[in-house]
């Protein structure tokens, strides 16, 4: 197991953080602690799921992105959008307006990320899975992959090693442009991300390579604003100038891929789709206990509704989903001409279709040395029994057990517990009305 930290896209802006503890209490991996009234994220435990950002009422948690102006350092600029981007716009804005605006703001070509699904289906005749153990777990959501790496080491072998469709799309486009004779230095391929996890994945040193898949990443809300203002300014002429604009190819299956059940419904056998990170955690506990039998494939997504629930999406996720379903009804299968174009790149892509093996990361260990870890564990047990067990968060840790863990590691002190202190004072009658007279530790 490696101890290397992940690349992270989420950062706390200390000047805005009020220390309200909401992010800390919402973090599914207990990665956040409060120091001097500000939230601090533990880099080994953060999986970039974005729950903290969603919970923050002060916009103090932000997702890093590349400067949009960076795209103009490249002569040939490609935007790769998640399908859910289209779902962010009001229904009376036609898709062609959106595509035309993306060209207007500076891109030469636009593709939907899920086109990679069509590429994979075309070159493999089906959606393939590569994993050592069943049920195979989808590798589509990077926050889920990281969650399993840090919290469920025994399940790492279930993760599908198929490269995510978004990377296949980017590799396909880059190869096509190179074949056209465009200088590699002139090609800029930018992903428009609906969440933090996808940025973190793209920027991770352990991923990327095959000729550097993405040149940069721009947040979906940023591009949404540029497109929306272009549409507002040019509404009158957009009808005419976008009338014969070709819409990038995408099949109905691919168009719905990023929504809950979008992937699982195309895989054969018994499948299950679970969305929202806490639901996923509950389920993975069961799977790790070997309580789940006879399933072949699991589609697990960190956000409710799949990518429609991405934290950077400005729109309503249910409306976005409805729009994608509605448009999928008029989407067509891949034409023979498109199929031929994909097949020309098949041998190149097949070479990279599998990603590197995924390693577990031991971030919950109390000590490298097992005897010392055991000692700390005994200490942890004692402390956890002494704490009130109400998870109030006033100590700066999300739960009493998290504080106990920090104490056993020597990075926190039991005097941080405000409830123990209050219970020991005789004169605080108002508090005693709430919590009773008992000085007894709780029984877990």
């Amino acid at each position: 197991m490696k101890g290397v930290s992940f690349h992270h896209a989420l950062t706390v802006r200390e000047e805005l953080c009020q220390g309200c503890t909401r992010c800390m209490r919402n973090c599914p991996t207990e990665a956040i602690r409060l120091f001097h009234g500000k939230a601090h994220v533990h880099p080994d435990k953060c999986i970039d799921c974005g729950q903290c950002m969603d919970a923050c009422p002060f916009d103090a948690i932000v997702i890093e992105q590349d400067d949009f102006e960076k795209i103009f350092s490249y002569n040939y600029r490609v935007a790769i959008l998640p399908s859910v981007f289209i779902g962010q716009f009001a229904d009376d804005i036609p898709e062609r307006y959106i595509y035309k605006s993306l060209l207007d703001i500076g891109f030469n070509e636009v593709y939907e990320a899920e086109f990679g699904v069509d590429i994979l289906q075309t070159i493999g005749n089906r959606f393939s899975t590569y994993a050592d153990d069943k049920p195979v777990i989808s590798s589509y959501c990077p926050a889920i992959v990281r969650l399993i790496q840090i919290k469920y080491p025994t399940l790492v072998k279930h993760i599908n090693l198929l490269r995510p469709p978004v990377e296949i799309t980017a590799m396909y486009i880059r190869k096509k442009l190179l074949d056209r004779g465009i200088d590699p230095k002139d090609i800029g391929i930018f992903y428009v991300t609906p969440c933090a996890a996808k940025i973190a994945q793209i920027k991770s040193p352990e991923q990327q390579k095959p000729e550097d898949i993405f040149t940069g990443v721009i947040n979906l809300d940023y591009i949404y604003n540029l497109v929306q203002s272009n549409i507002s300014k040019n509404k009158k002429i957009l009808e005419e100038i976008s009338s014969d604009l070709p819409i990038p190819p995408l099949t109905p299956d691919a168009g719905l891929w990023s929504l809950t059940t979008g992937e699982s419904s195309t895989v054969s056998g018994r499948t299950l789709a679970i969305d929202e990170i806490h639901n996923v955690i509950d389920f993975l506990e069961k799977l790790e206990n070997d309580e789940v039998k006879n399933l072949d494939f699991l589609e697990l997504r960190a956000c409710a509704g799949g990518c429609a629930g991405g934290v950077l999406n400005p729109g309503n996720r249910f409306l976005a989903k409805e729009r994608l379903f509605h448009r999928s009804q008029s989407m067509k299968e891949i034409t023979l001409e498109q199929e031929a174009m994909i097949c020309m790149q098949a041998s190149y892509l097949q070479h990279y279709i599998k990603r590197d093996r995924i390693e577990a990361k031991a971030v919950f260990q109390l000590d490298e040395d097992i005897s010392k870890a055991l000692e700390k564990l005994e200490n942890y047990q004692k402390v956890v029994n002494a704490l009130p067990g109400i998870d109030c968060g006033l100590c700066g840790a999300p739960t009493c057990s998290a504080l106990a863990e920090d104490i056993s590691k020597g990075i926190a002190d039991i005097t941080q517990c405000a409830v123990l202190k209050l219970r020991r004072t005789d004169d605080n009658l108002a508090i005693k009305k709430v919590w009773g007279n008992s000085l007894e530790p709780h029984q877990p």
Binding site: K151, T154, E285, E288, F364, Q365, I370, L374
Partner: protein
């Protein structure tokens, strides 16, 4: 370190509590994933056995730096034919238990396959199963 868990008879909703907690502790000790999996499977099967077949009992887990020793004891009625119970697919589980998705007859064989050492003592007064799993990967 010792951890003790009471297991009431017939309460399937809480079967798996001991294995879940032990699993968390083993991760804190950075035990290799393969070994954690073996402990969890053995312990979970043992818990379900006590819930499904006995009048109630308890699990005692003793953890040191080299292994985990698990002792599962119940208050009867005992296993009539241990040899038969150890064969895969043999089950005495009631229809009710099977309908809940348990009782496939893999309990004892699974426990044996996943532990380094296993010993069963049974009489009508109760059954006691001892398992030892080493933390060293072989």
């Amino acid at each position: 370190m010792d951890k003790r868990y009471a297991i009431p008879s017939g309460d399937f909703t809480h079967a798996g509590q001991a294995s879940s907690e032990i699993k968390r502790l083993l991760k804190q000790l950075n035990i290799p994933p393969k070994i954690i999996k073996r402990v969890v499977v053995s312990l979970y099967e043992a818990e379900v056995n006590v819930v499904a077949h006995s009048l109630g009992g308890e699990v005692l887990c003793s953890i040191d730096s080299e292994h985990i020793k698990i002792t599962v004891s119940d208050r009867g009625p005992g296993i009539p034919d241990v040899g038969l119970a150890m064969s895969e697919g043999y089950s005495t589980a009631s229809q009710e238990v099977r309908e809940m998705g348990f009782g496939a007859g893999m309990g004892l064989p699974n426990m044996r396959n996943n532990s380094d050492e296993m010993d069963i003592k049974t009489s009508p007064e109760g059954t006691s199963i001892f398992m030892n799993i080493s933390f060293k990967e072989n």
